[in-house]
């Protein structure tokens, strides 16, 4: 008997295509899983609404649940409450850091000061002697930084 807990567990295997080492659950993209009479309804929310990976994520979520034996799977996109980077789990923050991407600062719902603070800790050496080089990076969700101590660049996942 497969329960919603099993489905959540299976969704831990669905990775964000642009960050293929973290799952869509750890990223806070999956908001709800409902299992009723053999059909599954998932609510997901976009990180950045222009993210080109959204369609792939939607498809991958449905595919993974069908693999569990459910024929009836719907994936609904919801916009409320709006996704916030605060929902990125600690496990994902650790993985981001290990792969050279500084995790976003937690802002507790007050984004504007954080978006303007320009603080990032270098994921390699832990230095805060860093400078924002570009608020826009290789993907919508990342900014580009330079660490004066490492004398090398790094990326930060943007606070949202």
């Amino acid at each position: 008997m497969i329960t919603t807990a099993h489905i959540w567990q299976a969704l831990e295997e669905v990775k964000d295509p642009e960050l293929p080492f973290v799952s869509v659950v750890e990223m806070g993209i999956v908001r709800d899983v409902q299992l009723t009479a053999g059909s599954v309804h998932v609510k997901m929310t976009p990180t950045f609404s222009g993210c080109p990976a959204l369609d792939v994520i939607r498809r991958d979520i449905a595919t993974r649940i069908r693999e569990l034996g459910f024929a009836q799977v719907t994936v609904e996109t919801v916009l409320h409450p709006p996704w916030t980077s605060d929902w990125i789990a600690d496990s994902a923050r650790e993985k981001l850091k290990n792969l050279g991407i500084a995790p976003p600062l937690r802002h507790g719902g007050n984004l504007i000061p954080v978006a303007f603070l320009d603080v990032a800790t270098c994921p390699r050496c832990g230095s805060t002697h860093t400078i924002l080089k570009n608020a826009f990076g290789p993907t919508l969700c990342k900014s580009v930084w330079y660490c004066h101590d490492c004398q090398d660049g790094f990326e930060q996942f943007k606070a949202l």
């Binding site: 976009p46 950045f48 609404s49 222009g50 709006p82 978006a115 570009n134 826009f136 990076g137 580009v144």
Partner: protein, 265 residues
């Protein structure tokens, strides 16, 4: 409500059956502004003056494209028309964007200033649209507004930098402002649908946003040593009227979809 009806004899007719029609049209205004601006900005991809700005403008274009898709999906719920059909198989005369966003860029300062003027409008507009009585509209506005913070932060900094920069950067910025300022005024013209929805609290009437927009842009642009043009007359007050530039833009944007209408990607 009686008061409103006495002011507008048509309103009683508009109360329920025409409401979704007006709303679908309003969503088209929102979607088309973002889509056409996104397309114009995407033309900088690979042509930006420096690598960082090439990347930044491309990101902003992608964001606006995502916002256009968000508005279009809300419209699809009301009309049933597929997003791709609405975008790729609609003729220029059926587009409802303001002329500001369809103008071809001749300069990077022009594109930066246009994006800035639009960003301020969006920040002012979305804050109020987030209080819409139509929940899907309110939720989308709240979501999009958060992302817009990064746009305005970026474009506002560049407006200052170019305005106060060299004589050449200032000259180009002022020229861009002289051209764009009257066009930007069209964002604050009410279409009949705006008035219908505004009365019901479903959307915000654009005229009510003008004061705040004007205050913010004028203050900032003046600090950037730019002179606000005296011409405040929009080129048109009707979103159905376009320049010939839109036809060229759509011909290019729609060409692949129209040549291969059954293609899937």
């Amino acid at each position: 409500m009686n008061l409103l009806i006495s002011q507008s004899p048509n309103l009683i007719h508009h109360m329920t059956p025409l409401h979704p029609t007006a709303l679908a049209q309003k969503l088209l205004f929102l979607a088309d502004d973002e889509l056409i601006l996104a397309h114009r900005n995407s033309e900088w991809t690979g042509h930006g003056p420096i690598l960082e700005e090439d990347i930044a403008f491309t990101n902003i274009a992608l964001d606006e494209m995502g916002h256009a898709a968000t508005w279009h999906r809300l419209r699809q719920e009301l009309t049933g028309e597929e997003v791709d059909t609405a975008v790729f198989f609609r003729d220029p005369a059926a587009y409802r964007n303001v002329q500001l966003v369809e103008l071809p860029h001749d300069d990077w300062a022009f594109s930066m200033l246009r994006q800035y003027l639009f960003d301020v409008y969006e920040m002012v507009h979305l804050a109020q649209l987030a209080a819409s009585s139509y929940r899907p509209l309110a939720e989308a506005a709240a979501k999009i507004r958060i992302e817009e913070i990064y746009h305005l932060r970026h474009t506002a900094a560049w407006v200052t930098r170019l305005g106060l920069g060299t004589a050449e950067s200032h000259r180009r910025m002022q020229a861009a402002l002289d051209t764009l300022w009257p066009y930007a005024q069209q964002l604050f013209v009410n279409m009949p649908e705006d008035e219908e929805l505004g009365e019901m609290g479903t959307a915000v009437t654009p005229t009510t946003l003008h004061h705040e927009w004007q205050h913010l842009t004028t203050t900032h642009l003046t600090l950037a040593n730019l002179t606000i043009p005296t011409d405040h007359t929009p080129p048109t007050t009707n979103r159905a009227h376009h320049t010939h530039h839109l036809t060229h833009l759509l011909t290019e944007m729609q060409s692949v979809a129209r040549q291969y209408p059954t293609a899937v990607w």
